[in-house]
Symmetry: C2
Subunit: 224 residues, 2 copies
């Protein structure tokens, strides 16, 4: 029987590419989406559509972060507009959600242990990104140690690794990889705003657009 | 202004004692309870009652672990009965909930960062306990590193420590400490079963009873 993995799957470009990569490797993929009160709930629809099309097990779990602390959860906070990548990398922005990836990875770990999965996959990226602390390699290694020490499987030598295949890739690399894997780019959703169409000005839209441009792919075609 | 902390607070003997200890230290205490589908939901009532009495901020967050994987979440699994402490420590039991403390600590971290708390407190114990991997000192240290690397505060040098004041204490020590702190023992709930009264046979009841006996305190008086 092939090995299993849990993929953290938001429905965006990076996590969808990560999911397709895990499938390509021959793993049995279990997809996990967290509905954490993000204003861009539109991404959850994308995740559902893609998971349904692939016919993979998919959980969408609702959690609440009533203390907010992020522009992704709080309409009264302004999203940064039209920033350069240099500006994005210079500081941790208001779109940072405190402990988000730690919470996501914890849920993924729980499911992974129950199904005896050998890995958890996350589309974290530390090149063309918004400077989030919980997307960096040293953080991922630290969580991997928690996976080993904090589980029954880990204590018994059956470790659950964290796979971050995109961590050192540029957005253009990711777009090219996505195309080679047959990722339905037009179904993925990256925009941080809750609108019907991507805003084109938030960090996430700009990084996506940059990736498509540098990869020589028309951006317009990929808008939903 | 005094420092703040988040206390993971189930409403049981250990976490209530931990909470009272944090208050005694002069910290502003924020209490966090996770409603994770535990069959012994009775403990949440205890947590609410105690938090209300103390007048402290208290969130009860509902999360779902649909993959279960634990006798605490799954009625069809038998709870161990009448085991000795040696038996409890010999293996990780069916009451282990995959990644539970990792999930709990992640939520606590998120809240702690938003309120600029300097610590997260958890009543984990590695002496008179059921052998859970996510209650041991090496695990706690690993999570502390994740706290530092995975947050904006941590990256900026404002670390959030994890305080585990009970980790090396026997259950008798904990009972004595609870009494000295004025913990309302009769309000706390430890039993794993969902009944109206503690069963007296599950690991949690037995550890509690042992603690009271060794501390020379009548157990009967503390039953709800």
């Amino acid at each position: 029987m092939s090995k299993s993995c849990v993929v953290l799957f938001s429905g965006g470009l990076d996590s969808t590419t990560t999911l397709y990569l895990a499938k390509k490797k021959g793993l049995r993929v279990y997809a996990l989406t967290l509905d954490y009160g993000q204003l861009h709930r539109r991404e959850i629809e994308s995740a559902r559509t893609i998971a349904r099309r692939l016919g993979i097990p998919h959980h969408v779990l609702k959690i609440s972060l009533p203390w907010k602390g992020s522009a992704l959860l709080d309409k009264s906070k302004q999203l940064p507009k039209n920033r350069s990548v240099r500006e994005m990398n210079a500081e941790i922005p208001v779109t940072y959600v405190p402990a988000r990836n730690t919470i996501f990875l914890s849920f993924a770990l729980s499911w992974a242990e129950v199904i005896n999965a050998s890995s958890v996959w996350i589309g974290a990226n530390a090149v063309d990104y918004s400077g989030y602390p919980d997307c960096r390699p040293d953080y991922i290694s630290a969580v991997e140690k928690v996976f080993r020490l904090g589980t029954k499987n880990g204590r018994q030598g059956k470790t659950i690794s964290i796979e971050v295949p995109l961590i050192r890739k540029t957005k253009a690399d990711i777009v090219k990889l996505a195309l080679s894997l047959g990722v339905p780019l037009d179904e993925t959703w990256s925009c941080y705003r809750g609108g019907k169409k991507p805003c084109g000005t938030c960090d996430s839209c700009l990084l996506r657009e940059k990736g498509f441009e540098e990869a020589g792919v028309s951006y317009a075609k990929t808008r939903t």
